[in-house]
């Protein structure tokens, strides 16, 4: 029970991070039908932007309030990551719209390699550490020395994710931008016939997805305390797995899939073997694609007659 509870907390924390990244995959897939393989690297870039902002704020500007620093870091990371993603769409995907289906996906793989190599050259290949943040924990249970703890940073991650998802849900369901976004997902030509600037809506989709990934990037950096140029790949593919598991194109599916992948990974590590945790997560990808290609909350590929 105690181990279970602890793993549940860890899994939900990790799942929050995957879920936020997965939304970016699923939104872009929903609107232009491509898998943005560079999204994981955009996430990694955001962690670096967060790291640089953090060091600038604490060492150069000498700000000591941790919450103020975190707030600024989050905003800075969101802005710059949003810009990065906007630029990628503009340069690497938009010119290929109307080209054959694989073209933008190949371009995305190129962008992914470009981003990770750029960061490797610009920031060096080694792990970049971050001074520990929010180190305190709450002890929930003490069972003969096995403490079940909830770290402040885990709490921070889960609460911030919940708040963001709430705001994001409101944006998509209730605002004109969200409606335009959903309209473009269903019928871009009709959306244009109603005065929706489709290119602009697609750009905004990339920006919003990247901003959520930026929050995930800063959380990841804070949670693990290190980041590496290669960190876009595995979390990126896991988040993609989450999006597929939840049903690609479905926003609630991305969140559900993220939480499930986070939980599967942590429980697997705790009860079976930590070495094989990535194998477990990626087996889910294969199993989902074979037996349930539409995912948990996805809709079957049948459209109007």
């Amino acid at each position: 029970m105690d181990v279970f509870l602890q793993q549940l907390i860890n899994g939900l924390t990790l799942g929050s991070i995957y879920g936020l990244i997965a939304i970016g995959y699923t939104m872009v897939f929903g609107i232009i039908g491509m898998v943005n393989f560079a999204h994981g690297d955009v996430f990694m870039v955001s962690a670096f932007i967060g790291l640089i902002a953090f060091l600038l704020l604490t060492t150069v500007l000498g700000i000591t309030s941790i919450f103020l620093v975190l707030a600024i870091v989050l905003v800075v990371a969101m802005i710059f990551t949003g810009l990065t993603s906007w630029a990628i769409e503009r340069v690497a995907y938009r010119p290929l719209r109307g080209s054959f289906r694989l073209a933008p996906m190949i371009s995305a793989i190129g962008m992914s390699i470009l981003l990770s190599n750029f960061v490797q050259v610009a920031q060096g290949p080694r792990n970049k550490p971050l001074p520990p943040m929010l180190p305190d924990v709450i002890v929930l249970m003490d069972n003969n020395g096995y403490q079940v703890t909830l770290a402040y940073k885990q709490m921070f991650i889960m609460i911030l994710t919940a708040v963001l998802l709430g705001g994001f849900w409101f944006l998509v369901q209730k605002t004109p931008l969200g409606r335009a976004q959903r309209a473009c997902e269903q019928d871009r030509k009709m959306a244009a016939l109603l005065g929706v600037d489709v290119d602009r809506t697609i750009s905004l989709t990339f920006i919003i997805g990247a901003m959520l990934a930026a929050v995930a990037g800063v959380m990841y950096l804070m949670y693990y305390g290190v980041v590496n140029f290669n960190d876009g790949f595995v979390p990126g593919v896991k988040a993609f797995t989450a999006a597929v598991l939840g049903g690609i194109g479905s926003l609630p599916g991305a969140v559900l899939g993220g939480l499930l992948i986070g939980l599967i990974e942590t429980f697997w590590s705790a009860y079976f073997s930590i070495e094989y945790k990535d194998v477990a997560a990626f087996s889910i990808l294969a199993i989902t694609l074979v037996f349930m290609p539409q995912g948990l909350l996805g809709r079957p590929e049948v459209e109007k007659v």
Partner: protein
């Protein structure tokens, strides 16, 4: 009088295949103008070419004195041209209400409540279906929604592509009555594409006949109804 919409010498291609071979059409303010023709004549292509999707490769489209031939689609629509397109193109995963909101977005959502009430008087069925998803509506209801969605933009020019397609005669009458009312009471300008030539020509002030990407005849609705060629090609076999 200069026309509200004038299409001059428009040629449109799909790849290398020519769909419109130099079309001239004019629509004056306050008129109902219809374009009739057989399947594949290029009627819908003309509707879409007016909206810039696909774009005319030659010729020009002028709306209210402004050349819109090369404007992006969304900017053309923001000049208050609305289209209820072929196949209706309802957003199936949005509610009826949201579909109407999408229409109103062009107008900046400023008259939303008033316009919503107007649509309910015009098509009471939509009120009953308001929170249902568009995809669950029947064909006739979807057609009403497509027209209502176009009207929510408060258009100066309404383009209607085959509003009668696949609908029961009673529903067709209802929709044509609604168009006539809007034209009479609000002076709405309508450009109507139809295969249902008899009803369309009775409704319209003027009409054009299109064959294989060119306009072959034009005249008032009454004149065209009496032309033997029109009778033979489009009106035989009753209505």
């Amino acid at each position: 009088m200069t026309a509200m919409l004038s299409v001059t010498g428009v040629k449109t291609y799909y790849g290398n295949i020519v769909a419109l071979k130099g079309v001239d059409v004019e629509v004056n303010e306050g008129e109902i103008v219809t374009l009739i023709g057989a399947n594949g004549a290029g009627k819908s292509t003309l509707m879409m070419t007016i909206c810039g999707s696909p774009r005319a490769r030659e010729g020009s489209v002028v709306f209210n004195g402004r050349d819109i031939t090369n404007l992006p689609t969304h900017e053309i629509m923001r000049l208050k041209i609305a289209q209820s397109p072929e196949g209706r193109r309802i957003f199936g995963r949005m509610t009826v209400y949201e579909n109407l909101q999408m229409g109103a977005a062009v107008d900046g959502n400023t008259h939303f409540q008033d316009d919503l009430e107007r649509m309910f008087t015009l098509f009471p069925r939509l009120k009953e279906r308001l929170h249902q998803r568009g995809g669950t509506l029947s064909g006739g209801e979807q057609q009403m929604l497509a027209i209502a969605r176009a009207l929510m933009t408060r258009p100066r020019l309404l383009l209607l592509d085959e509003p009668s397609l696949g609908l029961a005669p009673l529903v067709v009458k209802q929709i044509f009555d609604a168009i006539r009312d809007l034209n009479r009471t609000e002076g709405l300008t309508v450009f109507l594409v139809e295969q249902n030539a008899y009803h369309a020509l009775k409704l319209a002030h003027r009409g054009y006949v299109m064959v294989n990407g060119v306009v072959t005849m034009s005249g008032t609705g009454k004149e065209l109804l009496e032309r033997p060629e029109v009778k033979a090609a489009y009106l035989e076999g009753g209505h």
